[in-house]
Symmetry: C2
Subunit: 116 residues, 2 copies
């Protein structure tokens, strides 16, 4: 876990957010599991504490994490069942690849479909 690409156009905090979301969605991170503290993770990734905290706060605001002083960041309860979702994702990825669509166009289509 925690593979960051500093040259990406995606902000570092957003990369952290995405990886935690994927971990929770895939079951790699289970409800109740404790993540490294902001200072700890920042030190090991050679980032600033505020960068990590910003990611944690985004995840807290969307209900993925619970943050408490002294204890750190804990994965919230209520992990959804993703078997249907993962099958649908695989089918979509295959269809989009056959059609020659870019990743961006595909995600744009998904975003459009979910906003209705």
């Amino acid at each position: 876990m925690w593979r960051l690409d500093p040259t990406s156009d995606e902000p570092l905090y957003a990369q952290l957010v995405a990886q935690v979301r994927l971990g929770v969605a895939h079951g790699t991170l289970r409800p109740g599991e404790r993540l490294p503290s902001a200072r700890e993770l920042a030190a090991s990734l050679e980032l600033n504490m505020h960068t990590v905290l910003r990611a944690y706060q985004v995840l807290r605001d969307e209900g993925t994490l619970e943050l408490r002083r002294g204890r750190g960041a804990v994965v919230a309860v209520g992990a959804p069942d993703l078997t249907d979702v993962e099958r649908a994702v695989a089918e979509l990825a295959a269809a989009a690849r056959r059609a020659g669509l870019s990743v961006q166009t595909t995600t744009t289509l998904v975003t459009e479909a979910m906003h209705r």
Copy 2:
């Protein structure tokens, strides 16, 4: 077409890019069709020409548009068949909604699946 939201956190040029991509993907914009010139579109949307041109250049770099001086922006050839893709998108949107996933988490899963 051309519905922009200036209050969105998504940049204006990115909104233009997404709309052209969707139009081409859905067949609303057909290969060979001519888009408004950058100055023209900027005037009608009350934007700066550079903002529109930035969107056009992104679309040119990914092969969606062809830009030529004096003629303007033309949709490139090679529009894919999207029947399979659209069915897969609809199924994924439904599954993600049932699982309670956010739009962002869902698109993150799609991006991850297509990068393999």
